[in-house]
């Protein structure tokens, strides 16, 4: 009963701030609502027994990714064109289409029999790390994916630095720009 009350409170916060993202005018307000939504989702992760996922959600999503979003919004000064309309005519068709899709999937979900399993494991740090770094021959082999993920993040970082640089690989032009 108590878990249901906590869930309803967190779900209302998450849904409300997601709606704020849809209706916000300035990107920074939308970013703040997105952080609120992510933090309440982290609360739900803790509630249903995956505390490690909740912590990762707060650290990576609400911390790192949203910091990146806020930086880019401030660098590009997102308030500069407040004259572009929020929605256009395409939205008139998109929003009902998404609602109909959600209705169909929701109908299929409600009809399916779902129940919590009593023997399900709590996603603690110990269980997650043991499974992730299980190097046994018969193990799940998640550690290989983990290594590949490290390479992917490294290449994404290098690509981002190269893309966001002022002029690709020419130091002279940057120096002349400073002089002018």
């Amino acid at each position: 009963m108590l878990a249901l009350i906590y869930f309803i409170v967190l779900a209302v916060i998450a849904l409300g701030s997601a709606l704020c993202v849809l209706l916000a005018r300035h990107p920074l307000y939308a970013g703040l609502s997105l952080v609120t939504s992510m933090v309440s989702l982290a609360g739900i992760y803790g509630l249903i027994g995956s505390p490690f996922m909740g912590v990762v959600q707060i650290m990576v999503y609400a911390g790192a990714i949203m910091m990146l979003v806020t930086f880019v919004i401030m660098v590009l000064n997102g308030a500069r064109d407040s004259k572009t309309p929020m929605f256009d005519k395409v939205s008139l068709f998109v929003i009902p289409a998404v609602l109909v899709l959600a209705g169909l999937v929701g109908f299929a979900l409600v009809r399916s029999p779902l129940a919590f399993d009593a023997t399900t494991l709590r996603g603690s740090v110990e269980l997650t790390s043991k499974t992730l770094f299980d190097m046994a021959q018969t193990g799940p082999g998640y550690f290989l994916l983990f290594e590949v993920l490290g390479l992917l993040l490294l290449s994404a970082m290098v690509a981002a630095v190269l893309l966001a640089k002022k002029r690709l690989g020419s130091i002279e032009t940057e120096n002349t720009e400073v002089k002018h």
Binding site: L4, L22, M53, V69, L109, D117, T120, T128, L149
Partner: protein
């Protein structure tokens, strides 16, 4: 009445729909990327919620796969915002409808 797994799935579905709406219907490019983040969040929630309905030996995957999804989302946001910075330098606009020079 106790907490049911269907409530978690319905919440994930609602947040996913809102994320898709933000990503498709808003014109500001920041909202587009934030909508994608919101949809990815909802999918992670759905993963964890479904993992709690499985028996012990199968429910572990539901704790691991969302971690990978979060890392992919971080890489996606990193490259996506770098591209936004690059396009903004050329176009001086954050309206996603003005990024149409690849239109056939």
């Amino acid at each position: 009445m106790e907490l049911q797994p269907i409530f978690i799935q319905i919440l994930a579905l609602a947040i996913f729909s809102i994320g898709i709406m933000v990503a498709i219907s808003r014109r500001n490019i920041f909202f587009l990327l934030m909508g994608v983040e919101l949809a990815l969040n909802a999918v992670n929630l759905s993963f964890v919620g479904f993992a709690k309905t499985l028996p012990a030996d199968m429910s572990v995957a539901g704790q691991i796969v969302p971690l990978f999804a979060i890392a992919i989302a971080a890489a996606e946001a990193c490259v996506g915002f770098a591209m936004v910075i690059m396009i903004f330098r050329n176009r001086e606009s954050i309206d996603s409808d003005s990024y149409s020079s690849m239109k056939g």
